[in-house]
Symmetry: D2
Subunit: 332 residues, 4 copies
Amino acid sequence: MISDRLVEVGYEVRPIFGVERTVIGAVGGQEHQKVDTIDQLRAYDFVDDVMIITKPYKFVAKEYKKSKSVIDVRGLKIGGDEVVMMAGPCTVESEDQLMTSAKAVAEAGATVLRGGAYKPSTSPYSFHGMGLPALELLAEAGRRYNLRVVTEVMDPRKVEEVSEYSDILQIGARNMQNYDLLREVGQSRKAVMLKRGLSAKYEEWLLAAEYIASGGNESIMLCERGIRSFETYTRNVLDVTAVPVIHNLSHLPVVVDPSHGCGRRDLVATMSNASVAAGADALIIEVHPNPDHAIKDGAQSITFDQFREMMPPLRKIAEAIGRSVAAIPSAV
Amino acid sequence: MISDRLVEVGYEVRPIFGVERTVIGAVGGQEHQKVDTIDQLRAYDFVDDVMIITKPYKFVAKEYKKSKSVIDVRGLKIGGDEVVMMAGPCTVESEDQLMTSAKAVAEAGATVLRGGAYKPSTSPYSFHGMGLPALELLAEAGRRYNLRVVTEVMDPRKVEEVSEYSDILQIGARNMQNYDLLREVGQSRKAVMLKRGLSAKYEEWLLAAEYIASGGNESIMLCERGIRSFETYTRNVLDVTAVPVIHNLSHLPVVVDPSHGCGRRDLVATMSNASVAAGADALIIEVHPNPDHAIKDGAQSITFDQFREMMPPLRKIAEAIGRSVAAIPSAV
Amino acid sequence: MISDRLVEVGYEVRPIFGVERTVIGAVGGQEHQKVDTIDQLRAYDFVDDVMIITKPYKFVAKEYKKSKSVIDVRGLKIGGDEVVMMAGPCTVESEDQLMTSAKAVAEAGATVLRGGAYKPSTSPYSFHGMGLPALELLAEAGRRYNLRVVTEVMDPRKVEEVSEYSDILQIGARNMQNYDLLREVGQSRKAVMLKRGLSAKYEEWLLAAEYIASGGNESIMLCERGIRSFETYTRNVLDVTAVPVIHNLSHLPVVVDPSHGCGRRDLVATMSNASVAAGADALIIEVHPNPDHAIKDGAQSITFDQFREMMPPLRKIAEAIGRSVAAIPSAV
Amino acid sequence: MISDRLVEVGYEVRPIFGVERTVIGAVGGQEHQKVDTIDQLRAYDFVDDVMIITKPYKFVAKEYKKSKSVIDVRGLKIGGDEVVMMAGPCTVESEDQLMTSAKAVAEAGATVLRGGAYKPSTSPYSFHGMGLPALELLAEAGRRYNLRVVTEVMDPRKVEEVSEYSDILQIGARNMQNYDLLREVGQSRKAVMLKRGLSAKYEEWLLAAEYIASGGNESIMLCERGIRSFETYTRNVLDVTAVPVIHNLSHLPVVVDPSHGCGRRDLVATMSNASVAAGADALIIEVHPNPDHAIKDGAQSITFDQFREMMPPLRKIAEAIGRSVAAIPSAV
């Protein structure tokens, strides 16, 4: 009915149906009719709000919500005053590897456990993750050490399965513009961590987040993980500037992944410091009991000792800008 | 059983189950056992072949198949002596728009009709294609003007539907590393056109193709469509060099898309000439009855007249290197 | 005096003094005075012309000169109907190496001899060229085989010396924005070949050419030699699209250097074909009597045989677009 | 004589003559003769040292000098425990503009005054700096407010003139591979700040520094100022990771220029924090009395107030990693 009215006065209508809301995008229209039409639409009691969009993205824009979004992950706040540490192995390899990792990172100050169950791999002949058993181990490790869990989902058909075990759904860099997957997690009630594509512009990244938000899921954090460049010494170029830029353009929290961003163990601690100084709301770090024997990403994984040693300077940097490192919430 | 034997002698085993074959990847193993093991495996009568992989990709490598692959699309050969012209609108907008386009491009020398039914869009508020009705129109236009049809599939759950109507399944640049989608089309018997990702290295592109081939579908053509760079005058940088490079590394045919590669109508004809001179096996061109009113990609779409006018010089270039432009096969 | 008048009516004045003309740039000014002022200025008999600049570059813009510039290098026309072949070794190594190269490339169809006398090298410990003796050898080889000579000048203090021996002054990619050097060759009467910087945008490249032109030297050709990207298989990405783009924006001839552009011998012939099909006015190719023993750039240098073999298809491509390969002018 | 001996035993010899030392590079040679030859060479009493180079660069490598270099600029230490603040306008515009800027930045904590006298400009029609009068003003401002002075030199013929007035010679990004200029400042006794080229790899940057060092001038600091990428929101991508990478590979101090790196005023303070957290030895910031009326780079220049306000958090970050911000040395 609203759609009919909009078409009548000259708009092109593009509805987006979500679980919690339906967005009716209206493009075009006669300039002189805009004000009248907006007033009429606001009058309907099932209409929440009518907004004039000037940026290409809307729900994720600063204009839509002035204050920073704080995402509540079972009591843990991401995007608030505290900096959240996410850590764990690239890939879940075994119960022993995961449990020792979870224990070590929890003791050192991490509050979120990372670990791959479904892994994207450039080669079809590489290891692609243990799948469901890894999800079960992650959930178990989370319970045992009171950690929240973040793990990647690649296939829209697996969103439900991964949601059962994980607190945060990670969308990987390769899938930043996998729109059917974005729409699927947009229908979910789980928090989403959206990694930046290898050569995604800020606007494209925010538009990918908008796909999720327009479906009704606004619990989104954006994760900078390095962009592709001509330099070959590092795996990628960690774009630390993305942190203040996204904070200028959007209300969403920003996570930084220095492990993938640099691809070299010896740079992780220093670039973690730089990221926190730039205002990162969380860090996600690859930690492995024995990096040189890791199935994947050993070169960029740090040891338990290295993780422990990087925390005190990091805490001081956080304090220098008026923040602190988040501790595990006592009750959920 | 083979897997057991391989594990026993120290390999790590990674099977890939396909419709037409099962690939058993074996990584590692003791050097001195390699020759013996290979001989033993060859002895099994259900073993087709045992290959030692030195490159990260295998079925798509020149080493695997010396001569160029020729893909037969209902009688139309792609990868042979003839250069194939694919043309049509970016997006199917209406029956009239598609039918007039199909007629015009067929008359001018195209043998494959392009047209988007499911369209990836950077913004969730843009047009995403007509979906199924567009597929039906494409199939109808194909029948009416004896054209083969190529259209994009984005969602692994839609591969079957799109396969019903289209001769070639296009994987878009954004989905080059959407591995679940690649595996799904790897199980299909339809030809696949795999576009190069925005900043994909040659090896990553070939490994994406390997995902498809390792599932048993070797009817793959690779499509160069421009890479991301610092230049802003053109939409992308069309990497014409990709044509001879891929021909050096792989037996697969190479398609060039100068429309997306340049993003500017005024460059399409010249860069088509350059691509054919570089050895492109096919071109895919956006043609629209009225580009300035196109829903998508108007700036890079050429008119019917421009398409007609670009064909004679293109034919001469093809002849200069001993090729010709493919005509529509008389019977299928 | 003119400057005084311009300042009086509110312009900021930036004079550029050249050998053949003085350009007085005037920025700003009151809109309503523009027409009047222009008329007044035109009235002065020492004023050649008054132009309103809308693009950031002027003398090199298409707007300034509709038809393509044809540069006359001692009778050899660059930028006309004929495609000019420049060839020779990366670096002059010895009299024998240069003379055999000059003879071979002249016989195969080259009309310009290339060869480095002063060589830029990423490392201070690499060979930097023979200097003056190499210049003398180049001039001698030019006389002996009736070839024009192109060689690089790096230091503004050497422009005069290099001009004595060379027909075309090459500005290398690393020096595209070495403004004191550009100003120096802008004062010269020799033709200049300005290579594109490693990551120069088209506009920056044209503005670098404008530095030369604004000094009074309009005999400029622009040389595309590959841009820097993430790909590591080739040395650079040869931006073939630069040819039609520059032809759209400027009246200057465009040279393509597939040797540096690709950095691989096996791609030179094919990419030469593509460049000519794209409308290149000249090619510059590294040819060496024994590439595997070349002091510099052996990987991208082709043999005499390879140069001879690439010419016939190249001639056919040129004919396909209505051009031919330039022959050595009989008399100068 | 040494050269003769080296040639005799099969080396190719490349001498580099400097003011304070002569480097004799020897490439090649028979493996079995190496040890003997080295011993013989060490025996000459005019031979300082014989080194085996494994990296392409040598005097600037960590291998050559384990501890960090501390450059003494009239008593001010760069590369030590203290972080040095360099600030001032992009370009010297007038006595008043420079003196008020010098006073403001000195009061806020800067110890080095920046200001352009000779300015590189993409366009020949832009302002290119006041030249000599600007140098005189810089030197006067330095005296008046006890600041060291850094300014750019572009032309090898101007190195002597600029050295008379400036404490630090800046080599701009466009001239990073202007080898004749590098050789000229290599002969100077002034400290040099070498900016990273727009798309220079780390190794190329260090090799450019090696040009200077091999001439005998080891007072070199490297300045990260952003690299070129596909992103258009910021002017460049500030590569903060360059700081720890260069500290890993070299003993030279690293300066960061967030003004050019980001090209946006609103990012300067935050990215200064990140740079110091990453270990930067100095920052160079564009500050202008009235940025919106600056002749050049107004968009990235901050006001006096903004500079004052960014200092307290910066000091805290420095303290968090055990450093402090350098104060002006009381006596010189």
